[in-house]
Every structure is written in C-alpha cells, then in structure tokens.
Symmetry: C2
C-alpha cells in the first residue's frame, strides 16, 4: 500500500518537484512486528534533512500513525519508505513562496538479503565511479541519487551485495546503500561524510553504541588502504543492521568477532 | 495539458524511478506557432542524454507528434517540457533488467521574461553555491537538480533574472537556467562543461553559428575575472534565446552589439 499525503494512492502529481528536480528527501526503515524500528532516530534524521533543504517536515505523530498503518498491514516485518518533496511547483527552479510538501509512505517486503536466514557475511566490490563532493548536500538522504544508480549499475553478480565508493579525491565514503566501518587493533573507523555520502541512522546509532562501550572511534578522511589493513570490515544500514564484509574484490578477511558485538550494540535501545 | 506515455494524465506512478532517484532526463523547449522550435537539435540532445544514462529514448516521430499536439493546443507559443525516466522500478538502486521508460510531455505558458516584449537586457548575480564536479553526469540535463534549486534559492529579487555559478575549483560553469558566453576583442568564450553544468541546445546552436560566421571561439576552463574583462556578456537558453547581461552584481556593461548578432545567428536554420 502507498499513502500520499495520508490517502491511499498509486500516483503522484506529475508537476511534483520531487520528480522534476529530485527536490526532496527520503528514509528507508525496517518494520518489525508491525512497528517501525528506531522511530525516534528515523524521524530526527528526516527532520534534520528537511531542515537542511528548508522543506516543511511532516508532523511526527501523524507520520508515525501512517507508518504504523502500513507496517501493521504487512506480514509483520518489511521495509517502509518515507519520501518528502517540496510539492507541486510552477515551472522553474525557484522554490514556491508557499510550500505544500508532498508526503509519501510506502511499504514493501524485506529484500532477500535482509531476511532472518540471510548470510551474516557479505561480499563487496569497489566501484569505479567517484562521488562528487558537494558539502551543501553531504550527509543528506536526498532524492538526487543518480550517482548511486550509476554505481549500482556497475555489477549484476547477485553474489555481491554492496559496492564501496570513494570520492574524487580518493577518500573512502561508503557503500551504495550502506555506511562502512572497520576495526583495527580494537579501534573503530568510519569515513567523514562532510563532503558527500549519506549519513545513515544505523551509522549514527553504531557510533553512539561504540561510545557507550568505550571503543575508541575515528571519523575522518580515510583511504582504501586503511580498509585493506583492517582486522574486520562491516557495512550497516537500517534494513540489514551490521554485516561483515568477508570479501572485497580479491581481499578476504576471517571473522574477528566485531560484527556480532556491534550488531548487538546497534539494536540496544538505551539512549 | 500533460501526456504521460501518450495519454492525458495528471499524475505519475508513485514508484517511478524519476521520483525515487531523479533517474531520468528532461528537455525544456519553446513552442512557436504551434510547433516545437529547433526540434532536430532538441531530439538529438534528448537521445544523447538518454544514451549517456542508458535510458531507452522515445521514438522520435511519436514524441514529435505528442509535442505538436500540446504545442498546437496552447496559445501558439509556450514552453514544452519533455521528461524521460527509467520508469517504475522495484526497491533499490539497481536498474530493472527490463526497462519501460516513462515519457512525460507537458506544456506551460511562456514565463514573463520570455514574452516578446520582455527586456533584451538582463541583470544577473554570482551565486555562492559551488557546483560539484561529476564528469559522469556533466553536460547531461538530468533530473538531479538540487544544486540548481539551492542556487536559485539564493535570491528573490525579481529584477535579477539569472545567477551565475562556478564549480568548486573556481571555474565559471554557467547560469542556473542558461549557458553563459562572452566576447572580448571579437572572440567568443564559453566554459567547458566536461566536469559539471548542462550543455544546452541553444549553446550548441550558438557555437555552430559562431563557426559559420568565422568568429574565433574558445571553450575551456575560464575564471570569473575573464567575464569581468569582457566587452559583452550573454546568457542563452532555448526559451529566451540570447540575452545581454547588462549588470552582474556591481559590474555593468554598455552594449557592444554582439547580442543582436548572435541572437539572430541562433535562429538561422541553415544546418
């Protein structure tokens, strides 16, 4: 089922600025037992992304009710996507003086790689596409995702779940659909996302979890060689949690135990 | 009126990848006397942009008929927008194995600044936003236009028609909705668009026209200081033709005659 501005619908106004310009943001979250997982974090990130683009953010209680309506209608677990656009606009890039944002909530089944019996370890590859650096849009999960589409088009081997991306300066940024972390000598590393990339909710939760557990954490400009020298490499997002990267092109790693520790920490609801 | 895949419609499938990811391209062209202006160039650019993103391009004859249907239904002159997206897709960035592209054709009245009695001279400003450099998308008129939205949001003074943009290396790229040209000592200059920006049809026609007239032309990495040192500065697009930039923030220019020469050349249909 799809709700557009709260009403069951299958279509969106052809003049919507989300379609015309990708002028909007979105969230992809997991529903479990008919409820959205990590709702507080998900809504906070949606509100922050809306604020960054000066989009009107939906009312939290109303949006939560819509998400629960869709999560409850499904098989109990699944994926909920929320899209907020700047709504219908006149021709031209200038945002309308009065914005009536469009709010879309849709549900879909869990993808195979997110099912409970999916392998905990995954294979990944390096993408050749280099992400452009736009600090004004960095970290935001906006609707301008052509780079992600191009990157994901680089492979069709179903055994490879994720592609890792660098920016055009050579720094590691993350996966096409996930954030990347790795551990070396007991310390956690993840790329800074102040130039490009999407700063996901799972990433934020994982950083908080590492802090709670006293794991030293480094966020910065990191190069591919650092990943190759890691003891354990992981990707994370809100749908799959933390997964261990067992293979990255020709590089392989044996488990060092961190994925289980961090995945458990990710689901703790203590803050 | 709006045609979606050839049928009158007001809405587009909520699962369209154009909305989800900005996974598509578009054209904005002028209709005159019920016909699309510069159709051959417009279709060639649409086909090239579709090819660059591996999108299926609409059949030319069918698309031309749809454009003429809308152009003929209006007041004779107006703006026609064509959008081609990768169509409805399953969740996830991977392009569907079998693509059924979505084709949208819509008409709107000429904006005030494009009416026959609009001033030939315009005022512009520099935007503070710096365009990110993504060679894989450079030149393409794709649906990922958040940078254009952010740039156009920098001013609301109706006396200023256009904002000029540099990339993050400081090179001039063009206007938010136009390409930029300037003349110095009888030679024509326009920025290279191999890193970012949109290479419009009016720009391509103007470059051909300059060649026909034997005007030496330079396309390259050009800095803002070159514009300030120009004899005459112009913007162009398919809706407004060539317009003289009389003011750019605090800089002003007196007419040197080039805008009229080049605007006339732009509309010659000799090639």
């Amino acid at each position: 089922m799809i709700l557009v501005n709260g009403h069951p619908a299958v279509a969106v106004n052809a003049l919507d600025r989300g379609l015309a310009y990708g002028d909007g943001v979105f969230r992809t979250l997991r529903a479990q037992d008919g409820r959205p997982l990590w709702w507080r974090d998900q809504f906070a990130k949606l509100a922050a992304d809306c604020a960054a683009l000066r989009l009107g953010c939906p009312d939290e209680a109303g949006l939560h009710a819509e998400v629960c309506r869709l999560a409850g209608a499904g098989p109990g677990s699944g994926v909920i996507k929320i899209v907020v656009t700047r709504g219908v606009g006149a021709r031209g890039y200038a945002p309308p003086a009065v914005q009536a944002c469009t709010r879309i909530v849709m549900a879909s089944p869990l993808p195979p790689y997110a099912l409970p019996d999916a392998p905990a370890d995954i294979a990944a590859r390096w993408c050749t596409l280099r992400l452009a650096r736009q600090p004004r849009l960095a970290g935001i999960k906006h609707l301008n995702r052509l780079e992600s589409v191009l990157a994901r088009s680089e492979w069709d081997d179903p055994a490879i779940l994720e592609g890792l991306l660098c920016d055009d300066s050579g720094a590691v940024i993350g996966g096409v659909m996930s954030n990347v972390f790795w551990v070396r000598n007991g310390e956690l590393f993840t790329p800074s996302l102040d130039q490009c990339g999407v700063a996901g909710v799972a990433r934020a939760r994982l950083l908080r979890a590492a802090k709670r557990r006293g794991i030293p954490t480094h966020i910065g400009r990191l190069l591919p060689a650092a990943i190759l020298a890691a003891d354990e490499v992981m990707i994370c997002n809100s749908v799959i949690g933390v997964r261990r990267v067992a293979r990255l092109d020709d590089a392989t790693w044996s488990p060092a135990g961190w994925t289980t520790i961090l995945n458990n920490a990710l689901y703790e609801d203590v803050d």
